[in-house]
């Protein structure tokens, strides 16, 4: 191989490495919380109905930028004050396999937006909708429910548990079912 071709190849490879995942750094809604209803039970009399999905959920869930933003906001909106770094305190643990009001992105989004009756406050109109989706995505990463390639890989503060990209799936704790 000629040196020029090799250089060209290296340059192409280097440029290819600059390819980052798509990120939407300017969320659409400055404020507003979405109105999507989300059931909090799997019991559906008269037969199961299609569960609602939001296309936001999919686009935020596996996105490293949104997950890391969610991690930052988790502290800034004092989520960590009640749920600690996922282990819980005033509020329930978020890193285990137990979900009182559902584990889906849509359910967690609804929980943050509307609150829940036993102590979860409603952040409706206090947190912009896209940031609620970022928080919901980060919450799922605490129990190993986000792709490890996208979940945050370091804590900027005191080590309290392995970083989110190393959290095992809470349902299996890393073991094969």
């Amino acid at each position: 191989m000629k040196p020029a071709a090799a250089t060209l190849l290296l340059a192409i490879l280097a440029l290819a490495a600059c390819q980052r995942e798509e990120r939407d750094t300017r969320p659409q809604s400055a404020l507003g919380s979405g109105e999507q209803p989300t059931p909090v039970t799997t019991l559906e009399p008269g037969g199961q109905r299609p569960s609602p999905t939001d296309n936001k959920a999919a686009s935020f869930e596996a996105n490293a930028f949104h997950l890391s933003e969610g991690k930052r906001l988790f502290g800034w909106f004092n989520c960590s004050g009640c749920h600690a770094n996922g282990g819980g305190g005033m509020g329930p643990a978020l890193m285990d396999e137990k979900w009182i009001y559902g584990s889906s992105m849509e359910s967690i989004h609804a929980t943050i937006r509307d609150g829940r009756p036993n102590g979860m406050p409603s952040f409706r109109d206090k947190i912009p909708d896209d940031q609620i989706w970022e928080l919901a995505a980060f919450v799922r990463s605490l129990s190993g429910n986000a792709p490890s390639s996208a979940a945050p890989s370091r804590n900027d503060d005191m080590m309290v548990h392995p970083s989110e990209n190393r959290m095992p799936d809470a349902a299996t704790l890393g073991k094969s079912p």
């Binding site: 502290g75 800034w76 909106f77 004092n78 960590s80 004050g81 009640c82 600690a84 770094n85 996922g86 282990g87 819980g88 305190g89 005033m90 509020g91 329930p92 643990a93 890193m95 285990d96 137990k98 609150g115 009756p117 036993n118 102590g119 979860m120 406050p121 206090k126 503060d157 005191m158 080590m159 309290v160 548990h161």
Partner: protein
């Protein structure tokens, strides 16, 4: 230095009580055995017992009537019972008289009350009050009252949804609900008489403390030091529940009820509007200083004494200054709330050292002079003896491992902070002892005038801390500190220490695996009762600490034991079992031990508690066979 008073003839007392009771049967063998055990004590009884060298003021600790009408037993807060039927010799025979489920699987921190032939208990949220008829077999329920507090209140209660008990006065039961109500019930019927809404959960206020009734006023304070809630104490009229006075613990003098009568002993507490000027601008409005602990009352001086909680947020860099009047103690006039003196245990608190623990009022000779003192095992690790007429510190000795400070300067009254353990934003400081939960938290100690010892249930924990930035959002936590706790020196996470007040040193100390988060009670039978978080209810000798009896209850014990004389004339011991509270939140809140910062860092020290006990709420009552 005084010597502990000779043990009074407790065995003799027990026998008198027994003879007076016609309803009890004894085998001749048992009686003979008791006579043998008691023989040496009976000989000692022929000499008149010397007056105790340290004793509570009579007006604050009237002769025992066998009832238990307030969690601290009396205004002096001794948690001492003159009942002596159960003593060192026979306590090993204790057996269960009856049990009762509170129906709530959260931390049971309350003290049962006994008035006449009725026992009253308050559950954690949803704060159900039960009245049990002690005159009937099995103590059937006489009535129950469900206040139905707002469920959302659970989301702003910092450390489990506990309640520390009710208070009885003039035919009424007074108690607080988590969502900020004080309620008066007719003690006979359970019918509500008044319901005062004094706390607002939407700014993070809850109420967990037991009220104290003084001179026709119900004294109540708020919780919320982890939510940026401004602390206060209110006096409610016992008749109709209207607020007679409100004293804030931060802010301008007129709202703190500081006026011309205010005469603090130390220069650091003198000056105008220190509750404003020792804070960054406006920070006192969200600065904590809550009053969620214990109040004592001296009728002779006409003063109440109450502590003030930690300043908020925990991260000290966000609130330069002494942060008056947090982490200190006030003496106030109960009629008007006017402050008489103040002393600050932890100026510019660095480690969440709330100053709300119990204060035991005692009269004693101090360095040859009779003094009216107030004894306080404080969260920062020191056993303080204060002159309760002035707030002067007579003694401050550590009663366990302390490295966050290097003592108390008795000239200035100021705690000498250890600069090596100073926390701040972005800085991880390791091995700070004691922890945010203190060498001792709310769990109240007991004092026996027979031994001169204070029986202190406490923790032995250290911690790492890192201050972080925090935003104030009303109704959400305002802490700004990452914490993880670890066992203290020796590895035992708890201890039960008998402290010789006059000698300023421990008489004995027992190690416990978990923090001793229960209260204590001591009796004239020289028996001390306390519980462990594994669920053991223990009786130890008041003189030596020797374990005399223990019983495994269904869940960890964090409640306050009491003892009373039942309608049958015999002595009973009662305690609520049911793990929880800050220390037990890992179980009652089902927290995840893989996060070292869970429950404000406490979970890291309690990782194995889930393997030792489960949640539950049960009353246990014991008696001799």
């Amino acid at each position: 230095m005084k010597q502990a008073a000779q043990p009074a003839p407790s065995c003799g007392d027990a026998q008198l009580t027994r003879r007076a009771s016609a309803s009890r049967k004894h085998s001749p063998g048992a009686l003979a055995a008791m006579l043998l055990v008691c023989a040496p004590l009976l000989t000692a009884a022929s000499e008149p017992p010397p007056a105790p060298a340290i004793s509570p003021p009579a007006a604050a600790a009237p002769p025992d009537d066998g009832q238990w009408t307030m969690p601290a037993k009396n205004y002096a807060s001794t948690r001492y019972s003159e009942l002596a039927e159960i003593n060192e010799g026979n306590v090993k025979n204790l057996q269960v008289a009856f049990t009762f489920s509170t129906g709530v699987n959260k931390g049971q921190e309350a003290a049962p009350l006994v008035v006449g032939s009725t026992m009253y208990i308050v559950s954690p949220f949803p704060n159900i009050v039960y009245a049990l008829d002690l005159s009937k077999p099995g103590a059937p329920m006489k009535w129950k009252y469900e206040p139905n507090p707002e469920p959302a209140a659970q989301g702003v209660a910092c450390c489990d949804v506990v309640n520390r008990g009710a208070a009885f006065a003039n035919g009424r039961i007074f108690f607080n609900t988590l969502d900020g109500h004080t309620i008066a019930l007719d003690a006979n019927t359970g019918q509500p008489i008044w319901n005062a809404h004094i706390g607002n959960i939407n700014i993070g206020e809850t109420i967990t403390m037991a009220p104290l009734v003084v001179k026709g006023k119900v004294l109540v304070g708020n919780s919320g030091g982890e939510m940026g809630v401004r602390g206060w104490v209110k006096a409610l009229d016992a008749g109709d529940g209207h607020v007679v006075w409100t004293a804030y613990n931060t802010g301008p003098d007129k709202e703190v009820l500081i006026g011309p009568d205010f005469k603090p002993h130390y220069d650091m507490d003198k000056g105008k509007d220190l509750g404003v000027t020792t804070w960054p601008p406006e920070a006192w409005k969200i600065g904590g200083g809550n009053m969620w602990g214990w109040i004592s009352y001296d009728p002779d001086l006409n003063l109440i004494f109450h502590g003030t909680g930690n300043p908020g947020p925990w991260n000290p860099d966000l609130r330069p200054g002494d942060n008056k009047w947090t982490s200190g103690i006030f003496a106030r006039d109960p009629d008007t709330g006017a402050a008489k003196w103040f002393y600050q245990w932890s100026p510019h608190d660095l480690h969440d050292y709330d100053g709300i623990n119990e204060q035991v009022l005692l009269d004693m000779n101090w360095q040859g002079k009779p003094r009216k003192v107030l004894v306080r095992p404080e969260r920062n690790g020191y056993l303080y003896v204060l002159d309760r007429t002035t707030g002067e510190v007579l003694s401050a000795k550590p009663y366990g491992p302390v490295n966050s400070s290097k003592g108390v300067d008795l000239k200035t009254g100021r705690l000498i902070e250890n600069p090596d353990k100073q926390t701040g934003t972005g800085k991880v400081v390791r091995d700070i002892c004691p922890t945010a939960s203190g060498l001792k938290d709310w769990q109240p100690s007991a004092f026996s005038p027979k031994t001169g010892l204070l029986y202190i249930p406490h923790n032995n924990l250290c911690m790492d801390e890192e201050g972080v930035e925090v935003n104030y959002i009303a109704g959400t936590p305002y802490v700004g500190m990452n914490v993880r706790m670890i066992p203290g020196p020796g590895g035992n996470r708890g201890a039960f220490t008998a402290w010789d007040i006059a000698a300023e040193k421990p008489a004995w100390s027992l190690k416990e695996n978990f923090p001793v988060w229960s209260g204590a009670v001591v009796t004239a039978g020289d028996v001390v009762f306390y519980g462990t978080m594994e669920g053991w209810f223990k009786a130890v000798s008041a003189k030596t600490g020797d374990l005399l009896w223990q019983f495994k209850t269904s869940s960890g014990i964090i409640g306050q034991p009491i003892t009373y004389r039942g309608p049958d004339g015999h002595q009973y011991v009662a305690v609520l079992s049911g793990v929880g509270g800050w220390a037990g939140a890992i179980v009652s809140g089902d927290l995840d031990p893989r996060d070292a910062s869970a429950a404000l860092g406490f979970v890291n020290a309690m990782k194995d508690l889930k393997n030792a006990t489960t949640a539950g709420g049960t009353l246990y009552v014991f008696r001799l066979p």
